[in-house]
Symmetry: C2
Subunit: 361 residues, 2 copies
Amino acid sequence: LKGPKEKGTMGEPAPRALAGSAVERVLIGVAGLGHVGKAFVGLVQDKADSLRTRFGLDLKFWALLKSDGGLISDSGISLEDLAGLDQSRLTLSPLWKTGLGVEDVLPRSGPGVFVDCTPSNIQTGEPGLAYIRTALKAGWHVVTAGKGPLVADFEGLRGLARDNHLGLGFSAATAAALPALDIGVHSLAGADVLSIEGILNGTSNFILTQMGEGAPYEVALKLAQVRGIAEPNPALDVGGWDTAVKLLLIANSVLGLGLTRGDVQVEGITGVRPEDLTQARRKGRAIKLIGRIRREGDRWRAEVGPVSIDRTHPLFGVEGTNKGITFETDTMGSVTVSGGKSDPRGAAAALLKDIIHVFRK
Amino acid sequence: LKGPKEKGTMGEPAPRALAGSAVERVLIGVAGLGHVGKAFVGLVQDKADSLRTRFGLDLKFWALLKSDGGLISDSGISLEDLAGLDQSRLTLSPLWKTGLGVEDVLPRSGPGVFVDCTPSNIQTGEPGLAYIRTALKAGWHVVTAGKGPLVADFEGLRGLARDNHLGLGFSAATAAALPALDIGVHSLAGADVLSIEGILNGTSNFILTQMGEGAPYEVALKLAQVRGIAEPNPALDVGGWDTAVKLLLIANSVLGLGLTRGDVQVEGITGVRPEDLTQARRKGRAIKLIGRIRREGDRWRAEVGPVSIDRTHPLFGVEGTNKGITFETDTMGSVTVSGGKSDPRGAAAALLKDIIHVFRK
């Protein structure tokens, strides 16, 4: 028994027709040229044609900024100017200006979209927080891959965007290519979300999956580091803080809450013993690091911790570096989304999607 | 081992603040007062407050139409007028007009949103097709729970909506509360979708799940009928046609194709033997009725049929009346969404969501 084998009639592939044919030129300013920033620049170049034909968008790189300076060009930075974004060659570009900063640059032109890919401090939100404020005040839409700025001042940044009628996209900061925010905010519009549960950190889930197959914690962590899944300092991941921060950004957006880091009860995976996992497995269960928020009376309770779940749980099959999130609702039942690439290109794709959404309709 | 047990700090529930405070009054015309139509009317009444505060929408029922007449009121049809939408009492309402039809009513007022809940013929698309054309020509946005009209004239209806700058929402016709279209069109914007695979028919999936647990086909079908899952005539469901039609609406929307029913190769579940399922189960596999579209060279191949999948397949855990869909993409990896209520209220919630999206931003 298998799928139908006969040759089916085939449809011609046809590009999505664009309503009207006006193409809008959009200036792009990028801060941060690490893995995600570079992936974003590459992705926009790869997708230039389809962005024009499908979405009517002509994205032009106007400024690309690092911490010590950047490239800027009113006519758009071309592929050659970028020279593969190679660190050493970048500063040799005729467009390079040492000391060029977001604060100098953004108010000078635009409007456009400011893309924040800086590695912001999770406590202070800087430098991204100052950059995003500058951008919004100067009339730029903002999309960001950084959790720090949003955690530091969620209400303030959202208010600033709203008051200036600007977009503020942060899909890339919550679960990247996994459309957790889209589901909660867009697909469930009109339903009341009763609870949210997610496996939101790929590193922890990878380690727990490995441990479930017999590897001790230290070995599983080492394997994650060797494969480039875990960072050299995995504290935020295995300590549950990365999950907590994603959970609160999603909960604040979907439920209209104003939670901050202190409102989430956090336990990581470092206390999980191999025998806990083996035992769970023997019973047909699995232990997952789950971020969860649910009503308790007239208040919300947010927590992160290792939880033993059984085969009927919608997140049971989310293994390895995969992520997943389940929303319980009043009218639409339970909706779960899982998967989504966990690499820099996946994060870049989430940034690009948020830009498309700003200009859609 | 379990989740964190200490009392976490809790956040105050806060209603989502509405940007600006203008509330827009939107006229609603509904055709078809079967299970879905009634559920929609009830849902809009239940959600009136949150529609106003969260989305700035004041939905007013202006016309409610059945095949033999309907209610109409310029000041809005109130809860009392509806009298529980009881068939016999409806015609006794002072607002009832025998013979009142969509074609007479819609061009007389509006604009607003026309909600099509008629049980349209899957071959001809009527009566919904004529209704939707009338509505769009009269300047009404349209949301529909009917597959028939869209399958009969997908390109025509989409073109009519586009040319008149009107919304045409059909989430309720594809997978209801499962946000298959949202993911494909909205969440994956900018990515190239390489293939789509879905378990899109709850009845067939329920029957296969029951058969996997030992029930013969006839018994499983009977059980589905007794529980109100399968219709008295289950031919469209078990024959694979319901899946095929949903697949082609999703594929046409997401991939920009113009597939029609003849372009999908269809096999149902009636040829699946209990021993196939038992054998699959013994090997840790499952047989699912899967609708699938993928590239084959420079063309697309669409097919529906029973497929044996293993534990690593993202749809493996989709059991009983649940549905699920997986999109493979170039930049975002594989994204799967599953769940979503399969009852009239779930379909009504999908209609309401589409209305919210028409007016959002």
